[in-house]
């Protein structure tokens, strides 16, 4: 399977920004750098779209534009939280007005399939359309579905992506669960804090995927796997080793590992373990200081890996004696949802 195009709306403005400078924001929450939507979406449509819908639709359209594809055979979205902004608006009015005098707009846009549906509507695309909402597997489910459709053969191009937003309300609630660090800190130092909690993030990332090579692809996705609720770090090591064995990948074949450390001392333990065992001696980099932690953050990691392979460039601070042509991604979300991706240059 080939990644024909990739686009993201994320806290970093661009891949170039990631290469040149560390984003050293003083923050407890990373928000997306949103583009001028009027350049991407029909202004008449923008007015009716909530923030996450705009982010998702814009990333998708950018991606299709890059691929030169106006009509994908399938559109698949993954989102753990769905359209939180509109859900909150409707919920708040419902509570405050005691279920009276409500208007439908926010309700209509609150359904989890809004982003994928709006993309179909804009493209007038009658093809396969699906939305997955399985927490930290939402994006992985979308990828599984995409790979399965491509394997079946009738579908040639799939637009697949991961979208999640933070809102003031969701941030306030998730903070009460102790998910985030409390005091603002320099995001580049997130892995040195030795404390509990991470930094909230968000993003909208889409890919055009094809079963055949186009001659101008970002990368080939050679291997992909997920595992759920491992009982120990030993089991994680076993899954990673088995994954590499199945794809016939030797450790010396991996130029770079991109992994999901998020600055939470407990969360990050397993990464330290695997870098001492299954993935010992391989150059590795985290990515959540760039995009923050959220259930579909692995979509951002895939975008980052695809860009590193396409350009052959590594973010500053990494040993760059060799042009990276293979990247392994290992990410877990709250130690429940684990995913592995292996990409190589085309």
């Amino acid at each position: 399977m080939y990644l024909r195009a990739a686009a993201t709306i994320s806290p970093p403005v661009s891949f170039e920004q990631i290469l040149t400078a560390d984003s050293s924001a003083q923050s407890i929450r990373l928000a997306c750098a949103e583009p001028d939507y009027t350049k991407l979406i029909d202004p008449k449509m923008i007015r009716r779209m909530s923030r996450i819908v705009k982010m998702g639709v814009a990333a998708a359209l950018q991606c299709l534009d890059e691929a030169g594809d106006k009509m994908p055979d399938a559109i698949i979205a993954g989102t753990a939280y769905g359209c939180l902004g509109d859900t909150e608006v409707f919920l708040q009015k419902m509570v405050e007005n005691d279920e009276q005098l409500l208007t439908p707009t926010a309700f209509i846009q609150s359904t989890h399939n809004t982003v994928a549906a709006q993309i179909a509507l804009l493209l007038k695309c009658h093809n396969y359309n699906n939305t997955f909402v399985q927490g930290g597997f939402s994006f992985e489910n979308a990828i599984t579905d995409a790979l399965s459709l491509l394997k079946e053969g009738q579908v040639k191009t799939v637009l697949a992506g991961g979208i999640d937003e933070i809102t003031d309300t969701s941030h306030a609630i998730l903070k009460r669960f102790g998910l985030y660090k409390r005091a603002p800190f320099a995001t580049e130092n997130i892995f040195q804090t030795q404390t509990k909690g991470t930094i909230a993030g968000e993003g909208a990332t889409f890919f055009v995927m094809q079963s055949g090579a186009s001659g101008n692809d970002y990368a080939q996705l050679k291997g992909f796997d997920t595992f759920y609720k491992p009982v120990s770090s030993k089991e994680v090591e076993q899954h990673i080793s088995a994954f590499l064995d199945r794809q016939n990948i030797k450790r010396s074949d991996i130029d770079l590992v991109i992994s999901g450390e998020n600055g939470d001392i407990k969360n990050d333990e397993v990464y330290e373990t695997i870098y001492q065992s299954a993935l010992r001696g391989i150059t590795h980099m985290p990515f959540k200081h760039l995009c923050g932690e959220y259930p579909t953050a692995s979509a951002f990691a895939l975008w980052l890996a695809a860009n590193i392979i396409k350009t052959g460039k590594l973010p500053s601070g990494l040993p760059s004696n060799k042009k990276p042509s293979t990247v392994l991604i290992y990410n877990h979300y709250r130690y429940t949802y684990h995913s592995l991706y292996f990409l190589n240059a085309c």
């Binding site: 005691d98 409500l102 209509i108 359904t111 509507l121 489910n141 599984t144 759920y228």
Partner: protein, 399 residues
């Protein structure tokens, strides 16, 4: 399809019964599940009838084996999924590669909406345990744990077509050899959020709904859960008796017309039904029963009816909307109606479309009004169409 997907079991809970036996009995006796709200606390209690599962959360918790403070969405899901798996009685299930693929539209909203009123008064207030299972995926995670499923879990949310998509995503993973067994379907609990949402759209009937009737006024919301257990040919051979029903075709298409309304000519509905027929190789005149999406809204029924008129041209199979019994169970409806479709093939049943009076003037056919038993039902088409233009059809066949 490359390999057969057998239906080894089914499980259901709805406004007309807490299991398959109770549902069948209500379908046979024509007993609808709508009534005045008893368990949902809404300002619209006396004005809008709903089709509630006839148990409070304490009773549902006892039946499901889950704590009573869990979301109603999870409790309903656990009860139906457990019935389905028990009913399938797959030898050595724990050793097989299994998947739980569920669907819902509002996740734990039944608890979140209570949390929210406290939270709005003070952001430090509201019990966190009432919002911890808010995400749609949470109920799936809980129930996968009860079922002992670890290989693959997924939740789909494509509005009212969610469960149908869950079922055929699962079928695809089996036919490609990724999984041996999949429990798939969906769940949704009634919430004030959805009730008020549909109310603002002015598509709720303040009487009992009349799907496919000229004088239809809208839909009744319902709640419930429905799951089927699908197995590969290889696993089917290990069962005490090989199941007689298979998932033979499916299709997902998008209407791409409007965020909430269906196109007048039912483009999405037509493409979904046509795609399912094409996939299976079954011809339109071989369909013995259509379980309609049939919500009872002006818009759905004319769009769906127009698509059927075009696709079936003069030879219209018996059809009915079982939403006239269960109400519209939203994310669960594709699962609930897949269970009815499987039972239709298993026992030769055609269900009545309750309260039908007047033929729609645009359509040359009428829905079935009488319960039929012992018919030779070989192919059943089940429709699920939703917001966002998401249209899906499933085609079940007798082996």
């Amino acid at each position: 399809m490359s390999s057969r997907i057998y239906i080894a079991g089914a499980g259901i809970i709805s406004a007309i019964g807490n299991n398959i036996t109770e549902n069948l009995s209500a379908l046979e006796t024509g007993r609808a599940g709508m009534g005045e709200m008893k368990y949902l606390h809404s300002a619209h209690r006396e004005k809008i009838p709903v089709a509630e599962v006839k148990m409070d959360n304490t009773a549902l918790a006892a039946l499901s084996g889950l704590p009573a403070h869990y979301t109603r969405t999870a409790l309903l899901s656990a009860i139906a999924a457990k019935e389905a798996l028990t009913n399938a009685a797959i030898p050595g299930f724990a050793k097989l590669r299994s998947g739980f693929i569920s669907a819902n539209t509002v996740g734990g909203m039944d608890k979140t909406e209570n949390f929210f009123s406290d939270f709005l008064s003070n952001p430090a207030k509201g019990k966190l345990r009432n919002v911890v299972h808010h995400e749609c995926g949470a109920a799936t995670e809980i129930v996968a744990g009860i079922l002992g499923v670890k290989h693959h879990i997924a939740t789909i949310s494509t509005a009212c077509s969610s469960s149908a998509n869950a079922i055929f995503y699962g079928a695809r993973l089996i036919s490609q050899g990724m999984l041996d067994v999949v429990i798939a379907g969906g769940t949704d609990a009634l919430t004030k959020f959805t009730l008020n949402g549909f109310n603002t759209l002015m598509i709720l009937d303040n009487r009992y709904c009349q799907p496919f009737d000229e004088n239809r006024r809208g839909l009744n919301l319902g709640e419930g859960a429905g799951y089927i257990v699908m197995v590969s040919e290889k696993i089917a051979q290990t069962l005490p008796s090989i199941p007689i029903c298979t998932l033979n075709g499916y299709c997902n298409a998008n209407d791409a017309y409007h965020q909430t309304a269906s196109s007048p000519d039912g483009t999405g509905s037509y493409l979904a039904m046509k795609g399912a027929l094409d996939k299976s190789g079954v011809k339109a005149d071989e369909i013995d029963y259509i379980n309609l999406h049939g919500t009872g809204t002006q818009n759905n029924d004319i769009a769906e009816g127009t698509a059927i008129k075009l696709l079936f041209e003069r030879r219209y199979p018996p059809m009915s909307s079982t939403k006239s019994f269960t109400g519209h169970t939203l994310g669960a409806s594709g699962g609930v109606e897949a269970v009815y479709s499987v039972l239709s093939i298993q026992y030769g049943l055609i269900y009545p479309n309750l309260r039908f009076e007047t033929q729609m003037k645009e359509l040359p056919f009428v829905p079935e009004t009488v319960f039929k038993k012992g018919a030779d039902i070989r192919n059943v088409l089940s429709n699920s169409f939703g917001f966002g233009g998401n249209c899906s059809s499933l085609l079940f066949s007798k082996v």
